[in-house]
């Protein structure tokens, strides 16, 4: 594994989140196998990979959600989180109660499916207010006031009316804005976004990506974005971690990685990405110029 962990801000910055030698298993299956990477304050780190690469499990492990509901287990490794006061805690060692304090408050997460990630039986305003009430010990009215403020920040049109709507009355793009509002409502220091735009139409995706870039500036939260889409990586990331088959293949600065991918897997992945504008001047369709690579697919053929 190439060792390039220099942050965009320079190596003297202290990581807000450091994953060290993380191993996560589901029964006999190893989903994440010894990954290590850092997330620095204010940066956007993209974790990119194809299905089964372990990128989403990595995200859920940081939240310690991998053990809930699913049968995942963090076998080994540390997830070091630097608190506001500079104290560093290993999230792996925290109790479920302590972890609950971290979730939503210090580290928040948004998910892929805006259609299913909101509770259908409560209004969206209620759901955002609930997150605030949970962590800041405020009453319902203050929670709703904060929800309104957040709706304005994520540029939801007619925010007052929208607070009273149920999820099914909103479009996918609006719901994802609500999810972002909820995730940012307690001023977390880290935002983990798991495929936040994958389920959205391309024009809505562009709006959400623009919003996420803007919010990073206004909130200062470090963002870890999990995606399979190299286009999304190129649009928003400062640094990139490439994962394949449970391991980190390569990590580095986004410009370096796109221009000089070192590992064969990264090269193959980049070669397969359709790029808008790559056909300019050609009349006939043209096949992709593929780099041979051993993929998960090929392994399955043998088995």
């Amino acid at each position: 594994m190439p060792n390039e962990t220099s942050p965009a801000q320079g190596s003297d910055a202290e990581a807000i989140l450091s994953v060290r030698d993380l191993v996560v298993t589901f029964g006999s299956f190893t989903a994440v196998n010894g990954t290590s990477f850092d997330l620095f304050p204010g940066e956007t780190l993209a974790v990119v990979g194809e299905s089964g690469s372990g990128k989403s499990v990595t995200a859920l492990s940081i939240m310690r959600l991998v053990e809930l509901g699913t049968r995942g287990k963090i076998e080994q490794g540390e997830i070091l989180f630097r608190r506001d006061n500079g104290e560093v805690v290993d999230l792996v060692g925290l109790s479920e109660n302590e972890m609950r304090e971290v979730r939503g408050n210090d580290i928040s997460m948004i998910f892929q499916e805006p259609l299913t990630s909101l509770n259908p039986v409560y209004t969206v305003g209620n759901q955002v207010a609930e997150a605030v009430q949970l962590h800041q010990g405020v009453d319902k009215a203050e929670g709703m006031a904060r929800a309104l403020e957040m709706f304005q920040q994520v540029r939801i049109p007619d925010p007052e009316q929208r607070l009273e709507q149920f999820p099914h009355e909103m479009s996918g793009g609006m719901r994802q804005r609500v999810m972002i509002a909820m995730a940012l409502s307690c001023d977390p220091r880290v935002l983990i976004a798991d495929e936040p735009t994958t389920a959205l139409d391309v024009t809505i995706q562009a709006q959400i990506l623009g919003l996420m870039r803007d919010l990073r500036q206004t909130t200062g939260a470090a963002v870890m974005i999990i995606t399979h889409d190299m286009g999304v990586v190129a649009e928003v990331a400062d640094r990139v971690v490439v994962m394949n088959q449970a391991e980190i293949v390569e990590q580095g600065d986004v410009y370096d990685l796109f221009e000089n991918p070192r590992e064969r897997y990264t090269q193959a992945l980049l070669a397969a990405v359709p790029r808008l504008g790559s056909m300019t001047g050609l009349d006939e369709p043209a096949p992709f110029d593929l780099v041979e690579m051993e993929t998960v697919e090929m392994k399955q053929v043998d088995s």
Binding site: V202, A206, G231, A234, Y255, F258, G277, M279
Partner: protein, 300 residues
């Protein structure tokens, strides 16, 4: 120039949704498709591109309009004649997991259209299936395996083999590569292009992914709220887009190159609902020819 393989004329599909309201899924769509050509239909969810695909293969009956295949209006064909014609049209769906019966061997799945249409003896069909498996990049010994033993990319190859069994002239790819990982997607796209060159297939390529569309298509139609707002040669659409929706769509596509990063205006806004209140209907757009074969809707 010979007559086009497919000619779609003034095709409309209206779904009543209760209370007198209607979804105008496809509105006055006209296009033609030549043999050996790929026409991509792009647009966002709800624009009617999938409905259009289903109308062309007659999985849905149009509200009005016609679809001519090889000069025959297939929308007016009876069942038996349609069955004959159906051999010339095949469709590949987005989800290769859902389109294969989990309890039948994949060889049987590919053989099925041949058996149904009585194309040869059992051993002839077997040989043909083996040949198809080799052709789509699988091996003949995989025929006896079951769908769950294959990955997504392989299953899509199996679906392609099944679609090709009857040597169709037109293959409709309804988001056929959208669910695949990029590396697999690229391989399947390349396979589809090879098959086109070899067999002279025409593709109606339905997709929301403009970057893939740019790779595969000869011509592109952009759909918005059930109507084609721009249609033309690929280079014209991608390099000289005329309609503001086409432009906005192209602007929105993330480019896999950090140096090409653009500022994203902080706007909101989505495509309006295709549901029309009782008594209302969308106004028909008027396409104007900008260059030979490049038409775009007039905008006020």
């Amino acid at each position: 120039m010979s007559a086009p393989l497919v000619e779609v004329r003034d095709l409309c599909k209206v779904f009543p949704v209760g209370g007198g309201s209607n979804v105008h899924a496809v509105e006055h769509v006209d296009f033609s498709l030549d043999a050996g050509e790929t026409l991509a239909v792009v647009g966002e969810s709800g624009c009617g591109k999938s409905t259009l695909a289903h109308l062309v293969i007659r999985l849905l009956e149009p509200t009005s309009g016609s679809v001519h295949l090889d000069g025959v209006d297939i929308t007016s064909l009876g069942n038996r004649a349609m069955r004959e014609h159906r051999q010339k049209l095949q469709i590949i769906f987005q989800d290769p997991f859902a389109s294969l019966d989990p309890r039948r061997s994949v060889g049987k799945a590919v053989a099925e259209p041949l058996t149904i249409h009585g194309k040869g003896t059992a051993s002839e069909i077997d040989d043909r299936v083996a040949q198809l498996f080799e052709r789509v990049g699988l091996t003949a010994d995989m025929m006896r395996q079951f769908p769950h033993q294959f990955s997504g990319g392989q299953r899509q190859r199996i679906c392609i083999a099944r679609a090709l069994a009857l040597e169709p002239q037109l293959v409709i790819a309804d988001e056929a590569v959208s669910a695949l990982d990029v590396s697999i997607q690229a391989q399947v796209v390349n396979l589809m292009m090879e098959l086109q060159a070899e067999m002279g297939l025409s593709y109606l390529f339905i997709s929301h992914d403009l970057a893939v569309v740019e790779r595969v298509s000869h011509r592109v139609a952009v759909m918005y709220l059930g109507q084609i707002v721009e249609i033309g040669p690929r280079s014209a659409i991608f390099e000289n887009p005329q309609h503001s929706y086409t432009k906005r769509l192209l602007d929105a596509v993330p480019i896999a190159d950090p140096r090409a990063r653009r500022d994203r205006p902080l706007i909101t806004g989505e495509i309006p609902s295709p549901v029309w209140e009782p008594g209302t209907a969308p106004t028909r757009v008027e396409l104007v020819e900008i260059a030979p074969g490049h038409l775009a809707a007039r905008e006020d």
